[in-house]
Symmetry: C2
Subunit: 276 residues, 2 copies
């Protein structure tokens, strides 16, 4: 079946991250449409708005259907130009801001860029510090500094430790270290010595043998390392180690880095250092 073709515009005064996140959440609830996505960040003057308005009208004609527009535009004049176009607008600020004003008995500031701008900037040092910690403690480097870690992810090669640590650092300002479990450890049936004193900070990542096999095959096709048999063996071993040592762990098969990170935060009771 051919999917219906439609266009969605994400319009924003600044980065467009909020408009994209919200619009994406809504549109993923609908099947059967092939979306042509047009992101327009930094849409901050009337000239630019007129150019976008022309694009919207062209897309409407091409799709034979008016585009959807998700907007976080704060400038009423810019928004007004867009409203003249042939589209259906979902404006996140207009929709909610008045009821929040009413609830808070306060006027809103109408200042663009607050969400991913200045406020984020104020936490710049925290965030960079967390990220530096992650990079300096990837893949078992410098275990002597584990006292400063908020969390230490453990798991076999390609279980997703590094991307998860980076996400925890960038998104939440969490100092996340990670330590690899290797086939060498399998003979001992015990945690690597260096982790013994930091057991309360450990969190295990596991996944299905089939998925690990496919991830490892991308890296080293047809190797012993990537073979399904080897993957099965290592996973079985690490899961039994996690259980034996009472280390909480998560099966990450078919879930995203965002979900893995949110689950870890919740299960470990970690406090997010950053928002937005």
């Amino acid at each position: 079946m051919n999917k219906q073709q439609r266009t969605v515009f994400y319009l924003s005064d600044r980065t467009g991250i909020t408009a994209e996140t919200l619009g994406h959440s809504l549109l993923t609830q609908f099947d059967g449409i092939a979306w042509e996505v047009v992101s327009v960040p930094f849409l901050d003057d009337i000239e630019k708005a007129r150019a976008v308005s022309i694009k919207i009208n062209e897309a409407a004609e091409q799709d034979d259907c008016r585009p959807l527009v998700f907007s976080t535009l704060l400038n009423p004049e810019v928004l007004e130009v867009i409203k003249q176009s042939n589209c259906r607008i979902f404006d996140f600020f207009e929709t909610f801001i008045r009821s929040i004003e009413e609830e808070l008995h306060l006027p809103f500031a109408r200042m663009a860029g607050r969400s991913h701008g200045l406020q984020h900037h104020l936490s710049y040092f925290k965030r960079i510090a967390a990220l530096n910690y992650v990079l300096a403690h990837d893949d078992g480097i410098r275990p002597k500094h584990y006292a400063e870690a908020d969390i230490i992810l453990i798991g076999i090669s390609r279980s997703g430790k590094t991307p998860t640590c980076l996400y925890l650092g960038l998104q939440y300002g969490i100092a996340a270290a990670n330590y690899p479990l290797t086939p060498d450890d399998m003979h001992r049936h015990a945690l690597p010595q260096v982790l013994e004193n930091v057991k309360s900070k450990l969190f295990g990542l596991t996944l299905s043998p089939a998925q690990l096999h496919s991830i490892r095959s991308e890296r080293r096709p047809n190797s012993q390392y990537a073979s399904l048999e080897q993957c099965e063996k290592e996973i079985q071993w690490q899961e039994s180690l996690f259980r034996k040592c009472s280390i909480p762990y998560l099966d990450t098969t078919r879930i995203s880095i965002e979900e893995i990170s949110a689950i870890i935060l919740t299960r470990c009771g970690l406090r997010r250092q950053l928002y937005g």
Copy 2:
């Protein structure tokens, strides 16, 4: 002046990222309130909803003001329990989903976790590949692979190259390399040789001497490296190099990694590989 104390809850079936992004965007428009933030991801059954409802009522009593609740809950029974609490709910799906259904002439799927779950997962390989590229080409490593880069950030030490590259990789699936400009290069008044053939992919990062001084001082306090004089000299030099070689560049003083990344994408006409 003492800020008014109020509580905001972010409730979600899954990661809570959408609810937090929305609420955070809106609340940063209001000054004068100290927000106590409670995030409740994976709120997926009535038992949990009842516990949250109790917390909401307690917060209302403590603040002497009902909490704000931003929700992306899809389960109507869970939502119903929350609605019985003493709060003001801003429900993201309820607000928009019906008008989108009407516009698309399609029913929505009411499936949690689509936004940051499966769809993201499908792009897992792309994302991991981009992130691996970033990590393997940080700080001038392996310039021989620059043909595969989508973009190469250049700048002096602590100009923000690594965090920006990581964000471009994680958030947008962009293969971003970075190459440091060092005081050694200053004598030559020319681009490092290795960058000559990839000039079209270069993008410079600069910032104010005062901010660079403060960032470098965190790393090596009272060093020649961190001195305001040295920072001024290096910045002046690199900006004149960018201009001389017609390399686009951005002053990142007081803007966030999100904004830097969005500006780079726009100015370089890079296509985002991931959404959401």
